[in-house]
Amino acid sequence: MAIKVINPGLSTTVQDLGRPGYYHLGIPLSGGMDRFALRAANLLVGNDEGAAVLEAVFMGPELQFASDAIVAVTGAELPPKVDGNVQPTWTAFKVKAGQTLGFDFLKSGARAYIAVQGGIDVPVVLGSRSTYTLGALGGHEGRKLAAGDALKVGGVAKAAKEGRSIPANLRRLPGNPAELRVVPGLYWHRITDAAGTGFFADTWKVAPEADRIGYRFKGGKPLEFVPRKQPFGAGSDPSNIVDACYPYGSIQVPGGTEPIVLHRDAVSGGGYFMVGTVISADMDLIGQLQPHTPAKFVKVDMKGALQARHDRQALLQKLRAAVN
């Protein structure tokens, strides 16, 4: 069965849980920015949690279905419409052969996950169906969807029920201001104590330059550096380091002004110092932030990071139980 792309939306890509193992060559993990929502969408339509779905940013696509399908839309509050009739989010619904799945305007969040029973069937590249657009790798021809594209859907493994829904208390979206928990470290010692205090005290705002590679934040005080003679090979700016690896979630601050949190399509390394790393449990939340959303970085230690990781796993267990 096939899905025809009538209108691709702003930037719609095929994503699954990503492509680990090639970061040392500059090929990032990729995959859904909000993995929790991606898993939920798949569970609702009876797929494996890691099946390939469509990730739509800010604006939904318009898709014509050649056969009957069970579909679910999770993540951002981007109301789906079947031939113009609004359907609930976080709920499995049916699209009949010949019908068109469209979307209403975005109400909250930033990225919606559109799962189709059977999964989006694009070739597996280096172990994943995820799209890495910068490297023209994976997904549908290595790029975001365009009008006229035809997507194949995989064979149905498990029955799915229309109307199956995720309870509201299991739908995870960021607050306002969004709170992103950070373990300070990496090159934290490069900034003064006052700058470090300010970084966590200030309220930042998501900048328009926010995509799958990284999210930029504005509006906090510039960070003051501890003076030093720059090491050989680093470059002359006090924010420069000898080019090193960048962790996922790491927060670099070029010139000490605007923090950038690297996300699933991260550049794997470079020459800017980093003040710390957003914990794994809060990475999904970043994917749901719209530009101009206020955000605070909240300091945690490793114990706090592991507790948050544990809490998130417990939530995932509840999610699995809720759809079974």
Partner: protein, 291 residues
């Protein structure tokens, strides 16, 4: 050199072998990452060597962060004693210096450059006390370069010039990064050279372009059929200046599937290099060109 360990959130450990760049720091980082690979520690998901540092990604549900840290510290002692010698490849990369494509791009972004009145290559020549563009090309292509990291974007090599530190070319990055860089641009920032594997943003100075693809996600190019990324840390590169006619003919060869890089297996010893830089480089050229 003092090794510094830091956690990157709950899934990464970052290990800085030295604050400043040197081949010694690179070799220590490489031997530590090799040791991590060989010890097959459960829970390790990515091992990423960099210029003078490296990063391990791990699953804290499998191995506790403190245990992971202890494992790495244990391996550091062994790495200190490791022999600084590697079996690697030496590759000739043809370069059209001062090409029209990077020129067009650098003119578009002149207001982001330290010296809007000269080109990147003229500027780099001047601040490195080299005799104009010709003098720069001679210095840039005269000695081999060492691939000390692969990354930033898919398959991009960072290259470290194999000469005395006082002769190493050093340039600042652009004041503000460009939003565009031609694919296969030969660039430079700090003390590092690079080849942009894909078109996109970049902050390095731009000196020329190579006709030789180094990343092919479709794996149609013959020498990228086995794996889509050409470079590995430890590769040695020799730039070969070419003119426009040679560039065009190489591009035609790539398109016809006939282009084959000149490439030889070689053993590189850091101790030997330290004792005699020019002699070691001459030997490497001997292997590459077979005389």
């Amino acid at each position: 050199m003092k090794t510094r360990y830091s956690f990157g959130g709950d899934e990464h450990i970052f290990v800085e072998v030295d604050e400043e760049m040197s081949l010694e720091a690179f070799f220590k980082s490489l031997s530590m990452t090799t040791a991590v690979k060989e010890s097959r520690i459960k829970g390790v998901t990515e091992i990423c060597p960099a210029n003078a540092s490296f990063q391990i990604k791990f699953d804290p549900d499998v191995i506790a962060p403190d245990d992971m840290l202890a494992e790495l510290k244990r391996l550091e002692g062994a790495a200190d004693k490791a022999e600084s010698s590697i079996k690697t490849r030496i590759v000739e990369i043809p370069v059209l210096y001062n090409d029209p494509w990077t020129h067009e791009t650098l003119m578009r972004f002149r207001e982001r450059h330290q010296d809007p009145k000269s080109t990147d290559i003229e500027y780099a020549a001047r601040i490195n006390n080299l005799d104009g563009v010709d003098g720069f090309v001679k210095a840039h292509s005269g000695a081999p370069w060492f691939v000390s990291m692969v990354g930033f974007v898919a398959g991009l090599p960072f290259l470290y010039q194999m000469v005395d530190r006082k002769r190493q070319i050093e340039v600042p990055k652009y004041l503000r990064p460009r939003t565009d860089t031609p694919k296969l641009t030969v660039g430079h920032g700090g003390c590092f050279g690079c080849i942009y594997s894909v078109r996109g943003a970049g902050g390095y100075q731009m000196f020329g372009i190579t006709p030789m693809p180094i990343y092919d996600p479709k794996q149609e190019i013959k020498y990228l059929k086995d794996f889509m990324v050409f470079f590995r840390p430890g590769d040695i590169v020799k730039w070969k200046p070419i003119d426009r006619a040679e560039y065009d003919s190489a591009v035609a060869d790539v398109e016809a599937g006939k282009f084959a890089p000149r490439m030889r297996d070689v053993t590189f010893s850091l101790d030997e290099f330290r004792r005699d830089i020019d002699g070691t480089n001459a030997k490497l050229m001997g292997v590459l060109y077979g005389n």
